[in-house]
């Protein structure tokens, strides 16, 4: 399909994609608010996601206050507690992590990294953000509806989710939640089509798939997965909405509520669990794969060394993406299923560990004898690796049916998924923001504040979640508002719980330092210049920083090499940008 011409002097092939006619904004509104520029949309996505994420952060404080000091705060009664954990989980997983990785980083980095001027369907891209914003508003509005938001748990299992015993079940809460998710899926699909087609069709000349930075590979694969997995959530939400509003019995069995026989009958709650986890498990990797990709680029850049085993990394991303669709029932070991199915899903779950471990080895081997700069992005990348290994290993425990069944309803599971799906991707998000903030704003983030932020967050996260594994192992159940006098656990867990809560408050406070840093450095940060990290990928080679509308000025970049030419022997500098034909010469000198 492709042939290689090593002769630099040869005539350049004609562009594969014609230079598009860009949409040009005419007013302040279309430039900064209803903008079709992927970079502005990315910032809008990012700000909205972080804003709603702060709500989830405050909710986690409230949860921890109740667990650490039960009975002290009258505000947090059992109903509110369940509402808080539900909203905390849903916001963090979908409205923060998914939106920030795909809508935020995807929008900012894909066009710049593949050498395009913008996404291929800018209008749909703009709509995607506004629909996402609507979903967030509907979600947030449920706090102010009669009965408050739903307290069904983030998995929204029926039948309890639509019954009166659950907060919001017979009120507005569950309706708002399901509507918000439906809106989110519609909005995401519009954005997702953009990300996929831009990677497929929008690449600059010379940017073959195997020259893509791993960040793009991660976001691309995650988007393909999301496009196939989100319909399951969509169908499940629509069907549950029918059950709740129109009295159908898709998921609702015959049930007596408060002594009253309800209209429902024959429905299958397990059916909902299948649909939900068919979405829910790929969702874990929808969040993890962009993180894998970004962290590969951070490590390579800040260790001044090419990524170890690039091909293997690409294959592993694709294989993980494929495998993640056939493991969903490992979330349902305690729901009851054919033992052979349990065996099948345990096997596929453990097999996923193979490509994932390859990735971890490759990160470590990239660091091996690299010229490691302990910059903030590197610190966060290192924190990601240890945290991910930690959470991944407990995942191997839980993937086995016999281990999962006793641990499933304990704090061990909470610790596991917060490590692997909460802390680890968030570390990458922070690292990525410290890494790309200079490109987005033209200024560096403050180093001192960043160091405080990193060390408090990293050590604090371990202080929170490490003891939680222990709590789980000695049998402290999750989802309980208050443990009370429980004879099956020692009373000393109260002190451990209080310690965890104090640490949670502290880590939360560190995020305020981070937000302040984001705002402060906008004005007072050190001037960054175009390429402060001396990185090879295309986004650092734009003629202007921050890149203007259209990214590349008059001429699209041409790509001559892969994304990881660091410390090439004999080269005058320790990095060679992707658009540089020979060591020491810039592309626009040879391209006429």
């Amino acid at each position: 399909m492709v042939d290689v011409r090593s002769g630099i002097g040869e005539a350049l092939p004609p562009p594969e994609v014609e230079d598009v006619e860009l949409y040009h904004p005419h007013s302040w509104w279309t430039r900064y608010v209803f903008s079709q520029d992927a970079k502005i949309i990315a910032i809008q996505y990012g700000t909205t996601a972080i804003a709603i994420g702060m709500v989830a952060l405050v909710l986690s404080w409230l949860i921890r206050l109740q667990l650490g000091f039960p009975g002290t705060f009258e505000l947090i009664d059992a109903e509110r507690y369940y509402q808080f954990i539900t909203m905390h989980g849903m916001i963090m997983v979908i409205y923060l992590l998914t939106a920030l990785f795909l809508g935020g980083f995807g929008n900012y980095l894909i066009p710049l990294m593949v050498g395009a001027r913008d996404m291929v369907f800018p209008y749909a891209n703009m709509l995607s953000y506004w629909i996402y914003l609507l979903a967030v508003i509907v979600l947030a509005a449920s706090f102010f509806t009669p009965g408050g938001p739903t307290g069904a748990g983030w998995t929204l299992y029926p039948p309890q989710a639509v019954l009166s015993g659950t907060p919001g079940g017979r009120d507005w809460g569950i309706i708002m939640m399901l509507s918000s998710l439906i809106i989110f899926v519609i909005g995401f699909t519009m954005g997702g089509l953009n990300y996929v087609v831009t990677v497929l069709q929008g690449r600059a000349r010379g940017m073959t798939l195997m020259r893509l930075p791993l960040t793009v590979w991660g976001i691309f694969t995650a988007t393909v997965m999301a496009l196939l997995a989100f319909p399951a959530l969509f169908v499940a939400c629509v069907m549950m909405l029918f059950d709740r509003l129109l009295g159908t019995s898709f998921f609702m069995p015959a049930i007596v509520e408060m002594g009253e026989q309800l209209q429902y009958g024959g429905g299958s709650p397990i059916l909902f669990q299948h649909l939900f986890w068919f979405f829910g498990h790929p969702e874990v990797y929808i969040v993890a794969l962009p993180a894998f990709g970004i962290v590969s680029d951070l490590i390579s850049t800040h260790a001044r060394k090419n990524i170890f085993g690039y091909r293997m990394m690409v294959w592993a991303i694709v294989i993980i993406g494929g495998l993640s669709f056939i493991v969903w029932a490992h979330h349902m070991y305690v729901s009851g299923m054919n033992p052979y199915f349990g065996f099948f899903f345990a096997t596929t779950t453990l097999i996923i560990a193979v490509p994932t471990a390859i990735k971890v080895y490759n990160w470590v081997l990239t660091l091996w004898r690299g010229n490691i700069h302990l910059t903030l992005p590197m610190l966060f990348a290192l924190a990601f690796i240890v945290t991910f290994v930690n959470g991944g290993l407990t995942g191997l425990f839980l993937g086995n049916v016999v281990v999962d069944v006793p641990l499933s309803d304990t704090m061990f599971v909470v610790a596991h998924f917060h490590m692997v799906m909460g802390v680890a991707p968030i570390m990458v998000i922070f690292g990525a923001i410290y890494h790309w903030y200079p490109k987005i704003t033209g200024r560096m983030l403050n180093e001192a504040m960043g160091q405080i932020h990193f060390w408090v967050t990293f050590i604090g996260a371990y202080a929170i979640f490490f003891p939680m594994h222990y709590l789980g192992l000695i049998g402290v159940p999750r989802r309980y508002h208050e443990l009370g006098e429980a004879s099956f656990v020692t009373t000393s867990i109260a002190e451990l719980n209080a310690f965890i809560s104090v640490m949670a408050l502290l880590v939360g406070a560190a995020q305020i330092v981070f937000l302040f840093n984001l705002a402060w450095s906008l004005r007072h940060g050190r001037e960054a210049g175009g390429n402060p990290w001396r990185a090879t990928t295309l986004e650092w080679q734009t003629p202007e920083t921050p890149p203007p509308h259209g990214n590349w000025g008059n001429e699209l970049p041409v790509v001559y090499r892969w994304a990881y030419d660091y410390s090439v022997p004999g080269a005058p500098e320790d990095f060679i940008p992707q658009n540089q034909p020979t060591p020491g010469r810039l592309s626009h000198e040879t391209v006429s």
Partner: protein, 232 residues
Amino acid sequence: MSIVAFFLAAIAAIVVWWLAGQRLTSRPWLEVGHFHDRRGATRLPPAKIGLGVFLAVIGALFSLAISAYFMRMASSDWGALPLPGLLWLNTGILAAGSITLHWTRVEAERRNDEAARIGLLAALALGLAFLVGQLFAWRALSDAGYFLAGNPANSFFYLLTGMHGLHIIGGLFALGRVTAHASQTPLDNRTRLSIELCAIYWHFMQIVWLVLFALFAGWASGVIEFCRQLLT
């Protein structure tokens, strides 16, 4: 979930076939210089790829819903509902719309603008007629006492036809825009591409409808038996 498994297997096959042509085994660190991508000759417009990906998403949506249909069908309270004869007519109308759009596309390729305009209007009318027909079919069923919440079979019938109808409405919006655009100016390449995309979308919705129709008529039970045997 076996239906979804088959659908995903099909998608996976396409992905693997595509990846196989992407030189995933190359050694990018050794290959410096121009890469000449020979796909240039058969390069598809982004909108077409976008539509293809979108159809995959719709396919996932319907195959998940159909999977749910089969799983729910296994319970004892399932009572199949009689299909209104009108659905046969609707199927014919939808098929006629699909054929009309195909003809329109061919005429547009032949630079036969007038015929293409007539074809677009006819397809639009047929699409609207299909929707009206579906509404009448709903009326007929509810008049006969088959309400949404009465039985899971009814619920699924209304849910699936409703989802299909919404997709047709979306398609009609796009088709309406193309028609309005085509009626004012001579057809250019962009409009021709839009017509082609509409035709592809219509064919796809036609296939989805045929699958749903077979499902409601009970012809698909043979398929599901086969799937069961594969799994056990």
